[in-house]
Amino acid sequence: MKILAFAEQRNGQFKKVAFEVVKAAKTVADQLHAEVVALVVGNNITSIAGQLGGYGASKVVVVEDAKLELYSTTAYAKVIADIAKTESAEVLLLPASAMGKDVAPRVAVKLNAGLAVDCTALSVNGGTITATRPVYAGKGLVDVAIKTQTKIFSLRPNVFTAGNPSGATAAIEAKKVGLNDDDFSVAVKEVRQSSGKKDVAEADIIVSGGRGLKGPENFKLIEDLAGSLNAAVGASRAVVDAGWRPHDEQVGQTGKTVSPSLYVAVAISGAVQHLAGMSSSKYIVAINKDKDAPIFTVADYGIVGDAFEVVPALTTEIKKLLGK
């Protein structure tokens, strides 16, 4: 049996989640006595393919084509489904990233496969894979099993641990998939990266600010603290709705659900919908004037105090520790 792991890359570099997906595939494969085949799709990617051996792929299929340089929903779906078929993979793992969530449903239809999305754990019992996934933005967790012959799981970034690569190597196999113009009926023409900005969905540390900061200009405090920690800046719904911060920074049920190793909530009281989006963070720090704020019920460490005094002191202490 084979497990196909889709290793997402952009600009010829693997996303961190690519290693997480391959490693998770390997963990499942070991219990099913299966083999992990990784798939890399793009342009100028053959040189990076070998890295996946260290995370558990015994073979890496490389589909390289200048036309696949930028992501195309339709073309990538065709390539992934084609390779899954030629490899006779029964299980397909993808990242639940912007790309993975976009391509997975189309692959599922092509393979007539059941699809479990945004999984945070996979376990194997008696040859059956059970996936755990958050629902209601993490207010609930469900265990699901896929009943179809071919099964697709997408994995939430930042949850599965890739660890350090071993010295193992993988066989690299270049494959061609015939693509015509119709296969690019949905295609990315340009990617606009916000320069230097870390995304909350991918960040290992997040510093978020809320309405208690009183105005958008005071987010400088949050940015400085985030800068000292090399962290992403997040925001509560209240401040996004008020137009202080862009929506892509919003953490919570109508924003992004995040699981960083450290989440620092500054002047955020902790509405139900915000807590849902960040409670699965490994460590949570709350800084709030109101000792009864609900955010303290999920915080590992709290400072009951004025953010305008505490945050600059914290930034100074962190710079001292990290020698910045």
Partner: protein
């Protein structure tokens, strides 16, 4: 243009999830339901599309009698007609998509709008599934949309940036917050909505591929430590994060 918009009826964001007696679903007692927030952007975009190209907007929801409340809201915003695909069974996204796709074909839709995800099951897959079942284009997490001469130029949100996507019609467009500013239903709209028809028909049967065996609440966090009450606690907090939690 024949415009379809899919809407879902979901527990509001204030809901605290309590597990139901079957151990697989939410206990609906005391839960307020509402039009899925992302679907509001979809309805607005559908109405704007009608404004530009003419035609009609049909709003469709799959579920029980209660979904009529959400359909009425979409009608009050300005949709022309509502369809309830009646079904009381629990479905996965694939099974939902199959029935929606079937209806879209039957209706002869030329473009479909939906929210980028439903805030109950958070799958974010129905739009892509419908598009593939119909052999259409799809663009997900859309924050900007332009339709011209049968082509679409859309901007979608990705990690740390945006993608500019070109696609051909017909297409399924999944709306993200920021795409537009959804209108509030006017009083006249609300009155009119009461007179607009809601067509009811049984949702087509579909195979369930993903089965839920159990639902539970996430483990409660043990209450944490209050490190201090002013800026002087900063040094101790940094020490704890470095030495105890080992996260910095």
């Amino acid at each position: 243009m024949k415009i379809l918009v899919f809407v879902n009826h979901v527990p509001d964001t204030e809901t605290k999830v309590k597990i139901g007696a079957d151990g697989k679903l939410i206990d609906p007692a005391g839960v307020n339901y509402m039009l899925n927030p992302y679907d509001e952007f979809a309805v607005e975009e559908a109405l704007k599309t009608r404004q530009s190209f003419g035609g009609e907007v049909v709003v469709v929801s799959l579920g029980g009698e209660a979904n009529k409340e959400t359909l009425r809201k979409a009608l009050a915003m300005g949709c022309d007609k509502a369809v309830l695909l009646k079904d009381s069974a629990v479905r996965d996204s694939f099974a939902v998509a199959q029935s929606l796709a079937e209806y879209a074909k039957e209706y002869g839709a030329e473009i479909i709008f939906g929210g980028k995800q439903s805030i109950d099951y958070d799958d974010a897959q129905v739009g892509g599934l419908v598009a593939e079942l119909l052999g259409w284009s799809s663009v997900s997490v859309v924050v900007k949309l332009e339709i011209k001469d049968g082509n679409i130029i859309a901007e979608r949100e990705i990690e740390g940036g945006h993608e500019i996507v070109h696609a051909k019609l017909p297409a399924v467009i999944m709306a993200q917050k920021g795409l537009n500013e959804p209108r509030y239903p006017s009083l006249k709209g609300i009155m009119d909505a009461k007179r607009k028809p809601i067509e009811e028909k049984p949702a087509s049967a579909a195979e369930i591929r993903v089965e839920v065996s159990a639902m539970r609440n996430p483990p409660a966090k043990a209450s944490g430590k209050i490190v201090g009450t002013d800026a002087s606690a900063a040094a101790e907090l940094v020490r704890l994060l470095h030495e105890e939690a080992k996260v910095i």
